[in-house]
């Protein structure tokens, strides 16, 4: 029997059908870039975030250097904010770009140009995705990452200001702003799907229950996410950082295919709450295991995550740039020898 391609495997696992796959997938839908990979393929940060040739090399390094079973673009969370006019601090080799200035003073100032996905680094992202598809054929999945609506709102308005508005402004107005941002995400994904991508990852790190109440999540975020689930038309993974335990019942109702849990949420607990409604991906702690652990510790964490039922084996959050390659590879090794019987 021909070996199942990583792409087919990933698409089964991420949609909650891992039992139909030959084994668990280790596609990583979050930030995969490490300094080791940048050096190996000579495509370092910060240049690789802006140069199409370097971006292609660094995206490919996830597979070529580590063996992760998929590609993901972009490498940072600033594409949306930059295209909307925020100033970006480009960081350095072991430091991701970050948003420096906000562009809108008030909810009512929000204006997203119709051609937004033709601005800033959106075209670069889509071009590199298309090139990966051309050069690697259908063998590996390609993930188009978008920065989620709440996180973008924090970037363009300022997070503290936006947090205060969640209390002081009519909920409908706040939700409407988030909805408008989600339409930009949807347009981005439509374009990316035409560029050959298979999976969407919505990274909304700021929408965490360390910041927001479950009530706000239910009343504002849930309808926005449901809108995205309805319109995007591809398997979707949502990632939210931190402890999201209190959101899990609502996350199960988003209509997304998978939820990526951070290290503060036990994957077994998450599975118990969401049942079959949404797949749970992640499970390998980025700090204690991948960054500061040993290959043995990573393997133990990965096996534990699989036992707890994760559907795709991946790091619990974006990979810290200084993560040693041997640790990152140890995670992939575990996925490769986990065969379902």
């Amino acid at each position: 029997m021909a070996e199942m391609t990583p792409r087919k495997r990933a698409l089964l696992c991420v949609t909650g059908n891992k039992r139909r796959a030959d084994r668990i997938s280790c596609m990583d839908t979050l930030t995969t870039c490490t300094v080791d990979q940048m050096n190996a393929v000579k495509a370092p940060f910060p240049e690789a975030n802006r140069d199409p040739e370097l971006a292609f090399k660094l995206a490919a390094a996830a597979w070529e250097v580590i063996g992760l079973e998929g590609f993901k673009l972009p490498f940072d969370l600033c594409v949306e904010a930059e295209a909307l006019g925020c100033k970006i601090n480009w960081g350095r080799i072991d430091r991701h770009p970050s948003v420096e200035t906000h562009v809108f003073n008030d909810l009512k100032d929000l204006k997203i140009p119709d051609d937004i996905v033709e601005r800033g680094r959106f075209p670069l992202k889509h071009d590199v995705e298309l090139r990966l598809r051309k050069e690697y054929g259908d063998y590996l999945p390609i993930v188009n990452q978008v920065t989620g609506p709440f996180t973008v709102a924090g970037h363009i308005f300022g997070i503290e200001k936006f947090c205060i508005w969640t209390k002081k402004r009519p909920l409908a107005d706040v939700r409407e702003a988030l909805m408008q941002i989600s339409e930009m995400n949807i347009a981005d994904c439509k374009k990316a799907l035409k560029s050959g991508t298979d999976v969407v990852c919505i990274a909304d790190p700021s929408a965490t229950s360390d910041i927001l109440s479950p009530t706000f999540f239910k009343e504002a975020m849930l309808p926005v996410y449901q809108n995205m689930a309805k319109k995007i038309g591809a398997p979707i993974v949502l990632h939210i950082c931190g402890n999201t335990s209190s959101y899990l019942p609502f996350i199960a109702d988003t209509g997304f295919d998978a939820f990526s849990v951070d290290a503060q949420v036990d994957p077994g607990f998450a599975k118990a709450i969401v049942g079959d409604k949404i797949a749970i991906v992640g499970g390998v702690p980025t700090i204690t295991a991948l960054l500061f652990g040993t290959p043995q510790k990573v393997k133990e964490a990965a096996i534990d995550a699989i036992k707890k039922g994760v559907d795709v084996l991946m790091p619990s959050c974006g990979i810290p740039p200084r993560t040693p390659t041997e640790n990152f590879k140890a995670m992939v090794d575990v996925a490769r020898c986990m065969v379902y019987v």
Binding site: E160, L212, A263, L291, C317, G318, P320
Partner: protein, 224 residues
Amino acid sequence: MATKEEIVNGFMKAIVDGDEEASAKWAKEAVAAGLDAYEMVTKHGGDAMTIVNQKYEKKEYFVPEVLCAANALNAGVDILSPHMKADKTSVPATVVLAVVEGDIHDIGKNLVKIMLSAAGFRVIDMGKDVPSAALVEKVKETKADVLGMSALMSTTMPRMKNVIDMLKDQGIRGKVKVIVGGGPVTKDWALSIGADDRPHDASAAVGATKGLVEKLRAERGETW
């Protein structure tokens, strides 16, 4: 004219509710009634923030509610501060706070600042994205009792270890207590890099800081 009790209760409720206008209104009433402005801010404002703190701890309040309460407190303080006669009898402990280099997520740090200031600490806020060397320099310059570091990203939290190692290298680790915090920072990890504590949230940071300052003052073999 409102009674003292009505003014104090109104002021405290305004803060707990995060109502800036009401807080300013009650602060003006307090000035008009000749109430002690210092006591209004440090005692009643502080007590109100303790209530906010407790609600946050019980997950009745979240970050937005705390930010609104802090804004309400500040609205009152703006009106009361010109009338304050500061209490100079006790020297407050100094806390240096910062978000580590590479990280720009400062909500958590700002909450800690709000809570510690309300609890009477002298807080020196270095802001976000602060280089390790600058942080160590500031600790030395201000003879800080406690250094608080925050990181919200798993990609930046290793910087905390970097700062603690620099304190050790310069032989001043014993002079200052270190607390760390932020979403991905676990207590085990915090202790493993040599931090003194990892309070589980901004509200717990107040108790932890008080405890560490007492410990430091009891030890005080090594003083600045």
